[in-house]
């Protein structure tokens, strides 16, 4: 759906702007983030090792080779996901927040334990949605959980700030009525739009090569992620890549309209 791709790009984007950033993989048992960040061969200790006191944070954190203000805390592939305890996660997040500007938590799919742990301590949430009804419905569910089960909700503090990020957006298919439009999704979910990432082969290629898409600065998807990060930091940027490429005069002539 694009959560891990998005976590990789947003954390890379934040780090590239000079903010000291760490991205944590909460998908215990599956472990995708380190593949997308191309550091899977450098994993020695993981998130669960740190929670269980078998390693220190400094031993487990992996420094990114491309952006030196970026660190990755990989998930464990061999442990049970129940190994993530609320106290353990809290301790790590508190420790990280002493030295890092931004902590990006990459949530697994669904509304199970791992996802609940990933969102519990959140101040802001980027909800990644595809333009289809079932995905939007799931996002609505997660938004409900964010506003009722997060620490901010339980403590009665200001609610978690919500952002909508629409991925795999294909304007041509929207025009044909095969996909929900940005407007439809915004209207249903009723939260502010952070960005729209166009569907693109680049995204697939980049994750296969272990390269966060945002570093593909020439591509639509890379630029769209860069815009999203800028907006996350409070910059105003116009939304792009939301309409289909205008057909040239000749191609329209030859296709008969």
């Amino acid at each position: 759906m694009g959560k891990t791709t998005t976590s990789a790009s947003i954390s890379t984007g934040l780090a590239k702007r000079g903010h000291k950033t760490v991205v944590i993989d909460f998908d215990v048992g599956l472990r995708n983030l380190d593949l997308i960040m191309n550091c899977e061969r450098r994993v020695v200790y993981d998130f669960v090792n740190v929670i269980q006191g078998e390693a220190s944070l400094n031993q487990a954190l992996i420094r990114d080779k491309r952006v030196d203000t970026l660190y990755i805390l990989p998930a464990s592939q061999t442990r049970e996901k129940e190994a993530l305890t609320r106290e353990g996660v809290e301790k790590i997040i508190n420790e990280l927040s002493e030295t890092f500007d931004y902590i990006v938590c990459d949530s697994p799919a669904g509304i199970e334990h791992g996802a609940l742990m990933a969102l519990y301590y959140a101040d802001e949430a980027v909800v990644v949605t595809n333009p289809e009804v079932s995905s939007v419905r799931d996002s609505d569910r997660i938004l409900g959980i964010l506003q009722s089960k997060s620490r901010r909700a339980e403590m009665g503090q200001d609610p978690v700030k919500e952002h909508l990020l629409l991925t795999r957006y294909n304007p041509a298919r929207v025009e044909k009525g095969e996909m929900l439009s940005v407007g439809d999704v915004e209207e249903i979910l009723a939260i502010p739009l952070l960005g729209v990432i166009p569907e693109s082969q680049i995204v697939l290629n980049a994750s296969n090569q272990g390269l966060p898409v945002i570093l593909e600065g020439e591509s639509d998807a890379g630029q769209a992620y860069d815009d999203a990060v800028a907006r996350l930091l409070g910059e105003e940027r116009e939304h792009r890549f939301m309409s289909a490429q205008k057909k040239g005069f000749f191609s329209r002539m030859f296709k008969g309209g």
């Binding site: 419905r137 609505d140 569910r141 938004l143 409900g144 009722s148 609610p159």
Partner: protein, 251 residues
């Protein structure tokens, strides 16, 4: 809050007068099988809302033989469906003796009218004479007001009064109220008004896209709502046991 001057001792409890709105089961006659069938049917119309509610058995309209009244069976059947019978209202001496034998509380009968007596008329006055607690002022129950979207998987419940939602009710969400439900936004989920049987309850929304609308147990599902007022501002009310959808502009 304030320490009473009468004694410096803190007692382990204090008695207060409380006025609680409750569901009454108005029994006309009693047949064990029929009772359970009807109960099951009612529960299936609004599952979840009957769970663990207190119930009083009203005997004011009971026409069967007193000897047929088996409170132990009634209590047992209700408990199997997670409903707690706590007392009876009205009834003659024999019936009340039977109820006491089943360890039920006895409430005075003769409450002038219950809310659902006049369903068709617009009764602006919802306050009813409080028979049990005469000292309680008859103030309307305050409405519950929600300003955040009610999202899929969430449930919002106004057990006594109206429910007012200033945001969308999303598909997969459920909103319930003893009184009316107002949704100042699209209603995409399920809305159940009058869940304690108030037939005069209504549902108002700015865009009807609901999965289900129910008033006092009478309901319509999305499929049956599509033909009339779909995706427009409407109100829904009960007329002759049928849900009627009418547009809100120039009502």
């Amino acid at each position: 809050m304030s320490e009473t001057a009468s004694s410096g001792l803190q007692h382990c409890f204090q008695l207060k007068s409380a006025s609680v709105s409750m569901t009454a089961l108005e029994l006309y006659y009693f047949d064990n099988d029929e009772f359970e069938d009807t109960l099951r049917d009612k529960i299936s119309q609004a599952p979840g809302f009957f769970k663990d509610i207190p119930l009083i058995i009203s005997l004011e309209k009971y026409e069967g033989l007193s000897s047929e009244l088996d409170f132990f069976k009634i209590i047992g059947t209700c408990r199997r469906h997670n409903i707690h019978v706590i007392g009876v209202r009205g009834g003659n001496d024999d019936q009340r003796r039977l109820a006491r034998g089943a360890a039920l509380a006895l409430l005075p009968g003769g409450g002038q009218r219950d809310r659902q007596v006049d369903p068709a008329e617009d009764t602006a006055e919802t306050s009813e004479p409080a028979a049990a607690a005469p000292e309680a002022p008859t103030e309307p129950t305050p409405a519950r007001i929600i300003s955040q979207p009610v999202r899929s998987g969430q449930q919002v419940y106004a057990p006594e009064g109206d429910l007012i939602i200033l945001a969308p009710v999303q598909a997969g969400a459920e909103v319930l109220a003893a009184g009316n439900i107002h949704v100042y936004g699209p209603l995409r989920g399920r809305a159940l008004a009058g869940i304690h049987g108030a037939q005069s309850a209504r549902v108002f929304c700015q865009s009807l896209e609901a999965e289900l609308v129910s008033i006092a147990g009478h309901y319509k599902i999305s499929e049956d709502l599509q033909d009339n007022g779909w995706k427009t501002a409407v109100q829904i009310q009960l007329r002759d046991d049928l849900l009627v959808v009418t547009p809100l502009e120039k009502a």
